[in-house]
């Protein structure tokens, strides 16, 4: 009440002064809150690229600003380079789509989603322990500390797959339904190949040098290149009326993973033989129940039947008094019951 009366007592000149002060304060407050809106800028644009923001699609220009939750897409034969405020540079190749899922300037908890296409990332500022920089793609996510890597997200044989190749540093890589591993400099992994044979390949030295030399060069899609090589090989075989039968499906997929001299480092025939042996062993191991101890074999065999009654198992290892060795124990549990000590 006192405030209102006070206002009424002002003359016109003082009122204008107060309005100016309030207006200035508003601008200051809005500026301090609006600090986080712009997180990056297009610094190179070749061809055509678009931005989807709040369901509005606009054409990107050089120096266009990028916000959190933007979806950026490039057209055919196009390329863009984005520089983010945390000194991370990201290159999108032709027909690529990127979503900035989360970006926080203050805490540096940034998540990028590679929806499709070819990408190249250079993280120039090291990510500290309380910060997070993550890149998601089909069935793969990589946590970055300070490095340069390339990633592809595409569809091969009607399955979504991803490739990740590392140029510098190390990369914490996690593939869906597989344990996390560290990718080292010069290595390349494909989600489809890894899920079959847990195989990590080395990049061809020539390609690695080219990639390091040209900062705009992108990684070719591994499975597409290898598939075309396989196709050519098959065509050659058929043209010479070779009696060799076509490869079975699993063999073909594995062949695809290895027959890529342009991308992957060429190996000697001995190494290839031992690699093939290893793969054979992995497949054998998966289906061989004979080698499993009775408690695990029993749980595996009766899994469907027990699940119908909501009976599942867990195991723990414990050394009994008197014997130094760890022994395995099995216990029953409800299938939807598990302990979470975290």
């Amino acid at each position: 009440m006192a405030f209102r009366i006070y206002l009424f007592k002002f003359n016109a000149g003082e009122n204008v002064r107060i309005i100016i002060i309030i207006f200035t304060l508003n601008i200051l407050i809005l500026n301090s809150f609006g600090e986080d809106i712009e997180i990056g800028q297009i610094i190179i644009l070749k061809g055509e690229a678009h931005l989807l923001r709040n369901n509005n699609k606009t054409r990107l220009q050089e120096k266009s600003l990028i916000n959190e939750l933007d979806i950026i897409s490039t057209a055919e034969k196009s390329l863009i380079k984005i520089s983010f405020v945390d000194n991370t540079n990201l290159i999108l190749g032709p027909k690529s789509e990127l979503k900035i899922q989360q970006f926080s300037k203050k805490d540096r908890i940034n998540i990028f989603n590679f929806l499709r296409g070819n990408f190249r990332v250079k993280v120039q500022e090291k990510v500290k322990l309380n910060q997070k920089l993550e890149f998601l793609s089909n069935y793969i996510s990589v946590g970055v500390r300070g490095t340069e890597f390339l990633a592809n997200s595409y569809i091969s044989k009607s399955t979504k797959v991803s490739d990740v190749a590392l140029l510098e540093g190390t990369l914490n890589t996690s593939i869906e339904k597989a344990e996390t591993f560290t990718l080292k400099a010069g290595e390349v992994v494909n989600t489809s190949t890894y899920s079959i044979s847990k195989e990590i390949k080395r990049l061809d030295q020539k390609l690695l040098e080219e990639l390091l030399k040209d900062e705009l060069k992108l990684l070719p899609n591994i499975l597409e290149v290898t598939a075309s090589i396989m196709e050519k090989m098959n065509n050659n075989n058929s043209s010479t009326n070779s009696p060799t039968p076509s490869l079975p499906v699993i063999g073909a997929v594995m062949g695809v993973a290895t027959a890529s001299p342009q991308i992957l480092g060429s190996k000697s025939s001995d190494e290839e033989k031992s690699a093939k042996e290893k793969r054979k062993l992995i497949i054998k191991e998966k289906s061989n129940l004979k080698n499993e101890p009775w408690d695990i074999r029993d749980a595996m065999i009766r899994k469907k039947e027990l699940r119908a009654d909501n009976v599942c198992f867990y195991w723990f290892y414990k050394s009994l008094p008197g014997s130094g060795e760890l022994e395995r124990f099995r216990r029953e549990r409800d299938c939807d019951e598990y302990e979470n000590d975290l």
């Binding site: 996510s141 344990e179 595996m300 599942c312 195991w315 723990f316 299938c335």
Partner: protein, 80 residues
């Protein structure tokens, strides 16, 4: 009701609205990663969130995957 009371009530409502506006929570999907680790010898798997095991138990692979899905449902780790 006196004018003074009306103003007091008005101020209380404004304060309540101000507090309520601060309290609106946004659902933030977690970015933690669930992973499985195989036992060195047996075909059993342990469930981990950000490389920390959730307990000392080991499970069959399908059961372990099932647990990661259940963890994702309650936003303890990212959905696959």
């Amino acid at each position: 009701m006196s004018m003074k009371m009306i103003y007091k009530l008005e101020i209380h409502i404004l304060v309540c609205l101000f507090i309520a506006s601060c309290g609106s929570a946004k659902f933030v999907p977690t970015t933690d990663i669930c992973s499985l680790e195989k036992h060195w010898n047996d075909s059993l798997y342990q469930v981990k969130i950000n490389d920390k095991r959730i307990n000392k138990h080991w499970y069959l692979k399908d059961d372990a995957i099932d647990i990661t899905n259940q963890l994702a449902d309650i936003n303890k780790c990212m959905a696959n």
